[in-house]
Symmetry: C2
Subunit: 246 residues, 2 copies
C-alpha cells in the first residue's frame, strides 16, 4: 500500500470548508468521492489543515493510502477528470509510510487579499475583503512587526475554541500593495482557530487608528480576544503553501 | 430630464446575458430594478451592446434619462448599494440629450482570456477558456493579422443571425502571453453575433494547425461559417472598453 501526497488548489466559495460534515458539501468529501471513483477503493484523505467555509486553497496538500496501481504522474489529470472545475490537483508523489500532510508540516503560509478602493470590483467579490477606506501600508507593516514572533496568541483565537496551548511562532508577515490589492502573507509553524483572520483585522484596526500602535504589545499580552481587532471575512483567505522536510 | 451615462463592471457568470428576457435574470433587468429603487422612477437603460450569458463586462457603458436630482458624482456608490456584489458602477456623468450608449459608440474593445496550461486553475474557472494544449503565440499573431481589417465578416457570424450587412472594421487584434494567460484584445467599429468568439476559435485552430495559415484569406473570403474555427466559450469573453466622442 502506497502513501501518496497530492497538491491541489480550490476555490472555496461553493464549499462549507475542508472538513467533512453532515448536510453540507465540503472539499474533503468531494475529493474522497473523486478518489473512490478513480481507484474503486473507499479512500480517506488526510488534509494539511482545516479551512473554513469560503476560504480558498492555492497549494493545499493531502495524503492518502492506496493499493491502486495508477502511476503517480497520472494521478493529477485522472483525478481532475472526476473533480468539479473549482478543485484541481496539480501534483502527486509517493511519500514515506509515516508521512501525514498535517502532522509532518513544518510551516505554513496563508495569504490574505484586501481589495482597497472606493468602488468595489465584481471580479474580487468572494475572493478578497472589500475595504473602501484608505489604508496606510507602512502603518500596517508596523502593526505586523509587533504581532510576529513566538508568543502566546490567545488574543488571536476565536472565542470558544477548546485549545489550551496557544503559543505559536509567526515567522513573518509580509505586506505588499499592487494597484488596489493589498496582499498579506503570514508564515508560521501553526495557527489557532481564526488566527490569520484576526491578525488581518488587528492590522487593519491599527492602520485606521482604532487600535493605537503603542498599545498593541499590551493588548496581545493580555491574551484576551476582546483586545484585538475584528475577524476578517473568510472570502479573502487562501492557504498559500505548506512546507515539508521530505 | 437629464441624460446620464454610467460605466459599470460585472461578472456575467450568474446572468443570462445583458438583455432583459422572461424567466431569466439579466444584467439589464437587475440594473433597472436598482435604478427604480434609487430614483423612485420607472427607468429604462440603453446598454452599449448585448452580451451573451456568462460573458463579462470590465468597462460596460449604459445611459438612461432621469428626473432624479441625485448629483452625478453620488450615483455610483448610491446605485451600488442597491446592486448585487457582482455588478459595480464606477462612473456617472451627464451627456447630451441625443447621446445613446450603443449608437454613439465609435469603437469597442473585447478581451478574451485563455488559461493555457496542462492543469486547470480553479481561479480561472468561468473567467477564461481552459486550453490544455500548447499554443504558439507567434502563430496566433500571424492568424490575427490575416483576420483584422475592413472586410465582410460573414464567415465569423453565428449561423441563423438575421443581419445582412456583414462588413465590419477590426482595427487591431493584440495578443499577449503572461505566465499561463493568453490575452486577446480585439478592437473594432462593430461586431456580428459571436464574432469575437469565432475570431478567437479561428486563431486557435490556425495555431494548432487545424486551419492552414495559407488558406485563411480564402476561408474568410468564402463568407461561409463552416470555413472558420470553433466558437470559443463565452466564459473567457469580456467587453473591455467602448470609445465615445464626447
Amino acid at each position: 500500500m502506497r502513501n501518496l501526497l497530492c497538491r491541489m488548489s480550490y476555490n472555496g466559495t461553493a464549499y462549507h470548508g475542508f472538513q467533512r460534515q453532515k448536510n453540507a458539501v465540503t472539499i474533503e468529501e468531494t475529493v474522497e468521492n473523486a478518489l473512490d471513483l478513480l481507484t474503486g477503493e473507499k479512500n480517506v484523505i488526510y488534509g494539511c489543515g482545516r479551512t473554513d467555509a469560503r476560504v480558498h486553497g492555492i497549494n493545499y496538500y493531502f495524503n492518502f493510502k492506496t493499493d491502486s496501481s495508477i502511476p503517480v504522474e497520472k494521478f493529477p489529470l485522472a483525478l481532475n477528470s472526476k473533480l468539479p472545475d473549482d478543485i484541481s490537483v496539480s501534483m502527486c508523489r509517493e511519500v514515506p509510510d509515516d508521512f501525514n500532510a498535517r502532522f509532518s508540516a513544518i510551516k505554513k503560509t496563508y495569504r490574505y487579499l484586501i481589495y482597497n478602493d472606493r468602488i468595489r470590483n465584481p471580479f474580487y467579490d468572494k475572493r478578497a475583503m472589500f475595504f473602501p477606506r484608505e489604508l496606510d501600508v507602512e502603518k500596517m507593516r508596523e502593526a505586523a512587526d509587533k504581532i510576529k514572533g513566538t508568543k502566546d496568541f490567545a488574543a488571536f483565537m476565536a472565542q470558544g475554541s477548546p485549545i489550551t496551548d496557544t503559543v505559536r511562532s509567526v515567522y513573518s508577515i509580509e505586506i505588499e500593495k499592487k494597484d488596489n490589492i493589498i496582499q498579506i502573507d503570514v508564515c508560521g509553524n501553526g495557527f489557532l482557530y481564526n488566527m490569520v483572520r484576526i491578525i488581518v483585522g488587528t492590522i487593519i484596526d491599527t492602520a485606521t487608528g482604532k487600535i493605537k500602535i503603542s498599545e498593541l504589545d499590551e493588548r496581545i499580552a493580555s491574551k484576551k480576544r476582546e483586545n484585538t481587532g475584528f475577524t476578517a471575512v473568510p472570502d479573502g483567505l487562501y492557504l498559500y503553501d505548506v512546507y515539508y522536510d521530505i
